[in-house]
Symmetry: C2
Subunit: 294 residues, 2 copies
């Protein structure tokens, strides 16, 4: 199959490596000639250029650009595509993408491979990036079944675990487990920095260990990612933050009231709830884990 | 030197192993005969019993019981001690211990070895538990210098990094980097669990990955530890929670106002601030890391 990949970063490049290893012919597109050269050298593409015209031959096109560039990319891309071409994307928020692309291209399926590394860019592209990681597909009522099955088949061939849900469900779920943690964690760092006694701040910095390390990790990450979450998933993020603030207030009031028994119950419930968020890791590939929504 | 250890759990047992390996004679005390037997079998003590009388021969006594048991243990212990005996403890909150012990025993130095493992109890005791980990000593104005130097010397011989500060500074610093993260993290789990749509909660559980894993870790830990923090470090914990809530509110208002620029600045500041909390790991043992307060 001829596969187009627009945007040759970590995800686009890794997708190219995987799909070529599966025998597909990969047409890469990047605005930067340097990136095209690197993609060819890494054998992440069969051909690469800054031009969109070659994608006229693609049966499926993955848009792997940053979210902010999807809309203008789409405007330039659509005139070249065969009407049968299936379009999909890899953005980490789905409502704004689905709302932008669906009215303009019916053969579109929103997608979100939930993978990554600490490194960004084509230089970090690698085989195995999608193995046993979730790949969420977000069809709507108007998504053609054939287009959905085609994207699903490609995603499964990467070794991903496929989940189906409406785009708004995806955005609400990732607000909880991906975007809210960033804001919770960033607020922790910001609060510690606000300590007005420099001797205590220095002591805190010296004594910080695994607990602070883990809880602060995502809040000390790439600022652009946090801004992207707030911009594109604003409504769901604010909803989860509002609920979080209520949970925090409840916990604070138990401590204020010295209600140790209720606090212990609350902490027992979080102790018991946490493993439910990681059950997937114990039975990867089990079809009972596939949520069919939409 | 004859060293007494009251309470043969993970810390008491590991202390015994280390001090015996350094050639000290270790007198262990545990209420439970089974624990005494295990401590002898593990060679964490030279002798062990449920009786406190043998500690009359100790030059230094480490109280390694849970915080809640320190006061009653003290009442029973003091009548046996030689007035020259130096007393110290290993509790993770210092003000309540210092306020309890200091008026009753002048040769007392509060201490907090900041180490641990996932396992508890004498069975998990091990050599190396204190190596290159912080050991905070919290002298007050009335602490005899000789007593402080004696505890410092023993703590240094364990391979720990020694910090000195007043007990209230310790409690404020650990509120920031140890106790606040637990409450922040527990509130995250509690908030996610409050999602009213079961399909979305299930999806969130399935999609949760490293970000949620790390941010939720300490909030899903041992409930008793969280209750202990809230009980014994209540005032400092509430202070840090109040400041945290302000930081959270500020971040939420930037998202509400769609002020991406200010949000990016805030996330850049947390990105830059976080490594300052882990600089110790890069130059362990450097005396410039020792904060002398008190």
């Amino acid at each position: 199959m001829n596969v187009g990949i627009v945007g040759l970063g970590l995800i686009g490049g890794s997708l190219g490596l995987e799909l070529r290893s599966l025998g597909h012919y990969v047409l890469g597109v990047s605005r930067r000639e340097e990136t095209c050269q690197l993609a060819r050298r890494q054998e992440a593409v069969d051909e690469a250029s800054a031009k969109l015209a070659p994608l006229a031959n693609a049966e499926i096109v993955f848009i792997c650009t940053p979210l902010a560039v999807i809309a203008p990319t789409l405007e330039q891309l659509l005139p070249y595509l065969d009407p049968e071409t299936v379009l999909t994307d890899v953005a980490s928020v789905k409502m704004p993408v689905v709302e932008t692309v669906s009215p303009k291209w019916s053969n579109f399926v929103g997608g979100h491979p939930m993978t990554g590394t600490a490194e960004q860019g084509i230089a970090a592209a690698q085989i195995g990036l999608f193995t046993e990681t979730p790949y969420v597909l977000t069809p709507t009522e108007t998504t053609p079944k054939a287009a959905l099955r085609q994207v699903e088949t490609v995603a499964r061939s990467l070794g991903s675990q496929i989940y189906f849900c409406p785009p708004q469900d995806h955005d609400r779920a990732v607000a909880w487990i991906s975007h809210l943690p960033v804001m919770v964690s960033a607020s922790l760092i910001a609060a510690c920095r606000s300590e007005s006694n420099p001797a205590i701040l220095e002591l805190a910095q010296q004594l910080a260990s695994f607990g602070f390390h883990d809880t602060s990790r995502v809040g000390g990450g790439n600022p652009e990612l946090g801004v992207m979450m707030a911009r594109y998933n604003r409504q769901e993020l604010l909803r989860s933050l509002g609920q979080y603030r209520q949970s925090l207030d409840q916990l604070m009031s138990l401590i204020e009231q010295e209600d140790g028994q209720a606090l212990e119950q609350l902490l027992q419930s979080t102790n018991q709830a946490r493993p439910q968020f990681f059950s997937r890791k114990h039975h990867t590939g089990n079809p009972s884990n596939t949520t069919l929504g939409g």
